[in-house]
């Protein structure tokens, strides 16, 4: 299977490539519009800040390719946030594939921000991406911003407040957590993504 991991700048993309490798898939790290367009799966990894990442996507001429992609696409962490209309982080305009605005996670004395750690997946909705994942399974999060709740939410997590841990609408999917670093639960989600009937 051809999997493109979008090369956006500085980030833990190697971890994503290694996780796919453990699932038997040799993904390509690329910013080539044509290569991305022709891939069977696209992964948009979490890299840096929203405004900067969107500027890079525009510069590389990738906005159109991603917005028009019809096979399964998975945004990870910031990658999930970029799927939405807009973000408060640098007042960035997103890809607009999902409705709503990304907002800052409020730090509280009980929940220092960024949220860095393992949290439970809650209120799971039935979806092929979450096949075999159970209510209360832990996933690893690292983020300062959260996506808005919508019909696209597939599961929540809670840290200070509740927010979407994973989203899906048609071919567009996202994880606020890092499946590449979420142990067997994360591997399961990535495996499900690769195995989606499409």
């Amino acid at each position: 299977m051809s999997v493109a991991v979008v090369k956006l700048g500085i980030g833990n993309t190697a971890s994503v490539l290694f996780a796919l490798e453990r699932l038997g898939v040799r993904a390509r790290l690329t910013d080539d519009a044509r290569e991305i367009a022709e891939s069977e799966r696209v992964i948009l990894p979490g890299v840096g800040a929203a405004a900067h990442a969107m500027a890079l996507l525009e510069q590389k001429g990738l906005r159109g390719v991603l917005a028009c992609f019809t096979r399964p696409m998975l945004g990870i962490c910031l990658g999930q946030q970029l799927l939405f209309d807009a973000s408060d982080e640098g007042d960035a305009r997103g890809l607009g594939l999902l409705k709503g605005r990304v907002t800052r996670l409020a730090a509280t004395p009980r929940s220092p921000a960024p949220h860095m750690g393992w949290s439970k997946l809650l209120s799971l909705r039935p979806h092929a991406l979450l096949e075999g994942v159970r209510e209360g399974d832990y996933a690893y999060f690292v983020h300062s911003f959260v996506c808005p709740e919508s019909d696209a939410t597939l599961a929540d997590a809670e840290y200070g407040a509740r927010f979407p841990a994973t989203v899906g609408q048609g071919n567009i999917m996202g994880c606020q957590f890092h499946p590449e670093r979420s142990g067997s639960v994360g591997a399961r989600v990535l495996g499900n993504f690769l195995a989606l009937p499409w």
């Binding site: 833990n12 190697a14 960024p114 860095m116 750690g117 690292v142 979420s182």
Partner: protein
């Protein structure tokens, strides 16, 4: 809960094998310290970093002599999820800002080695080598607040007075540090029993507890430490 290898005075074994073992025991994050790197003016070895990362499906943080943006990026490109900087941040505090701006605060951990001197907690530098270690002329609580201000996403506070003594974490110091921060604080130095892990979450409200020798020696297992934390009423992934 974090497992650590100090590439130290004692060789704790093959890093990839050890990292995988701690992962299997339930470590929530693996931190690899090449602690003599800074004192020896070199950076981490990318070959073993990549080996460890390939084998691991939990977060990986690396530390050791990372003093340029290019080195930090190279760490991320070889499979690190976060980089931890200590002495280089003291040499040039702007490095924290630069790293946070380019890679994002979530990638930037600032490690601080601290001990009580004349009634105040003070920062020490080049602690990886007995001949190079020296005071950094900064007070710990001011330095961690500055690091946060500059864009650090997490502080790992290694309390040197308790490090290696195995008499428990330095709860007074950690509690004082917690009060100065809005970002996560990770406790380091002093774990000697499973109960010490529960005590530091209870006493200092830290976001994580890091330990090395107590795990390497087999004195406490990662699962055992986590069970003690859960039994004390804290949420922890088992």
């Amino acid at each position: 809960m974090k497992g650590v290898r100090f590439a130290d005075h004692v060789d704790a074994g093959d890093p990839a094998e050890l990292a995988r073992r701690y992962r299997d025991e339930g470590a929530d994050e693996i931190v690899i310290y090449d602690i003599t790197a800074s004192a020896e003016a070199r950076s981490v070895d990318f070959k073993w970093l990549e080996q460890v990362s390939r084998a691991l499906d939990v977060p990986l943080c690396v530390a050791g002599g990372i003093r340029t943006l290019a080195q930090a990026i190279a760490c991320l490109e070889h499979g690190a999820d976060k980089v931890s900087i200590n002495s280089p941040a003291l040499e040039r505090p702007d490095f924290i800002d630069e790293l946070a701006r380019s890679a994002g605060s979530q990638c930037v951990v600032v490690g601080v080695d601290s001990r009580l001197v004349d009634g105040a907690w003070r920062v020490f530098q080049y602690t990886g080598s007995e001949s190079a270690v020296r005071p950094a002329e900064r007070e710990t609580l001011d330095w961690i607040a500055e690091a946060q201000e500059r864009g650090a996403g997490e502080i790992v506070l290694n309390c040197m007075d308790s490090d290696g003594v195995r008499a428990g974490y330095d709860i007074a110091q950690l509690r004082a540090a917690r009060a100065r921060l809005t970002i996560p604080l990770v406790a380091s130095g002093g774990a000697g029993s499973a109960e010490d892990f529960a005590a530091v979450f209870r006493g200092a409200d830290v976001s994580g507890a890091l330990a090395a020798s107590v795990f390497h020696s087999g004195r406490v297992g990662v699962a055992q430490a986590k069970a003690a934390v859960r039994a004390a009423g804290f949420e922890v992934r088992l």
